[in-house]
Symmetry: C2
Subunit: 258 residues, 2 copies
């Protein structure tokens, strides 16, 4: 059996791989799990022994198929829990993350099944992140772009919001911006804040807040509900995102922000 801690490392590696592709740097993992680099090195050795990762010394680390499956299962637990807490225990979308982090390692397969069943196999959690299926294939969120890659005049719908920073979530909850919210982009300052229209209001979002929002275009007559933003639609192709912020690029579309 893998410990909770090992699962946390695997989850972190999975997320980083999803965002920037393998191989994953030790320092990146260290930052995510909030441990020192030597600690991470030694854990990576353990995980390698357990067949969860492969690595090249001084180069980087990559998940094995097995390690990836474990990571996806943890993420499924996390997102099912977030969704359950929001829908059945009256948690708001900016409160669920911490609780889910604490519980995700301790629920049984049976619990997972039953939660998924009462939720009717949900496709996305309250942050808009896609929930991996019970078969644990890598979830593919629909194509989305960072809000910062939009340009003035765009009408877009919020697809997902990073669950990493509590302050930003609270800010957005307060601003009435949640997955599914349709907004108009008024102004995008390079590397800076983004001014948007939400309903009748106009809001200026600080950079860190803007960076946590990913969006899809609001056009294709698809004003459907937020839970379906990530559903099918493998057809819809890339949203225009001129190369101004190419360094901030987004090779994921796998929605791994656990």
């Amino acid at each position: 059996m893998l410990s909770d801690v090992m699962e946390d490392y695997l989850k972190a590696i999975y997320v980083i791989e999803s965002e920037s592709g393998p191989p994953v740097a030790t320092s990146e993992i260290a930052e995510r799990v909030d441990k020192t680099a030597p600690t991470v090195t030694s854990m990576l050795e353990t995980l390698e022994d357990r067949g969860m990762v492969t690595r090249e010394k001084y180069k980087g680390t990559e998940l094995t198929a097995e390690g990836r499956t474990v990571a996806i299962e943890v993420i499924r637990h996390h997102r099912l829990l977030e969704t359950y807490l929001a829908e059945h225990l009256d948690y708001s979308w900016d409160e669920v993350h911490e609780e889910a982090d604490a519980l995700e390692h301790h629920i049984s397969e049976e619990f997972e099944r039953r939660v998924a069943e009462v939720l009717d196999e949900p496709q996305a959690d309250p942050h808009g992140d896609p929930i991996p299926s019970a078969e644990l294939e890598p979830p593919t969120g629909g194509p989305t772009v960072p809000l910062s890659a939009c340009e003035s005049g765009d009408r877009i719908v919020v697809a997902r919001v990073s669950d990493r920073r509590d302050e930003d979530l609270a800010y957005l909850a307060d601003a009435g911006i949640t997955p599914g919210t349709t907004i108009s982009v008024r102004d995008v300052a390079p590397f800076g804040m983004v001014t948007v229209g939400v309903g009748d209001d106009e809001q200026s979002l600080p950079e860190s807040v803007a960076a946590s929002i990913h969006v899809t275009p609001a056009d294709h007559a698809d004003e459907a509900n937020a839970d379906e933003v990530h559903a099918g639609e493998a057809d819809s192709d890339e949203v225009h995102a001129d190369e101004a912020n190419a360094d901030e690029a987004d090779p994921d579309a796998t929605g791994a922000g656990a």
Copy 2:
């Protein structure tokens, strides 16, 4: 912060104190938590340093007020979870224990509050054990006696069923005997099996199964529902239990079988 493991020790000590009163023997704790005696000794030293227990070397251990409060909180978590799983996630009463054991250390205060709220501050879990209040005072189950202390002809209602042994729970679930079930005692073999009537059936319960059942008399016109067996009633006095099985006595009535 106390570790999960420490909480498990405190819970075990609390249960033993409830069953046999302090001081608690190291070997008893060792058996409950399934560790060796030296391991327990060293943990008890730690818990003493933390102010959770007091002890006299070679004699025994006792919870401090603080240790007791921690234990009661863990037990509250456990029983709220058991109840929630049974009522909202379709678990049967003999499945809930293991899941609750895994989760009880990891839920937040907030989670505890919300679960208690949606359950409407339940008084007893699916096994019939009383759920400590949010104020964490020691729960007092109403007076109950072991089934083995009854005699032929008694009509009684099952108050609670030990959650310690899965096999016995499954047996009882199969036999249709759950908290709230009214049964007639046909025959009590000294130190042996108990024959009872349940509805129209007659059943012979093996000793271990009979030992896990605690009952109250079915008389006082109180055919109320099982959840209220433990409610108020500090008035009703001791049930007749002649001293045949006095060694198997039951000084608890605090319902500590977490």
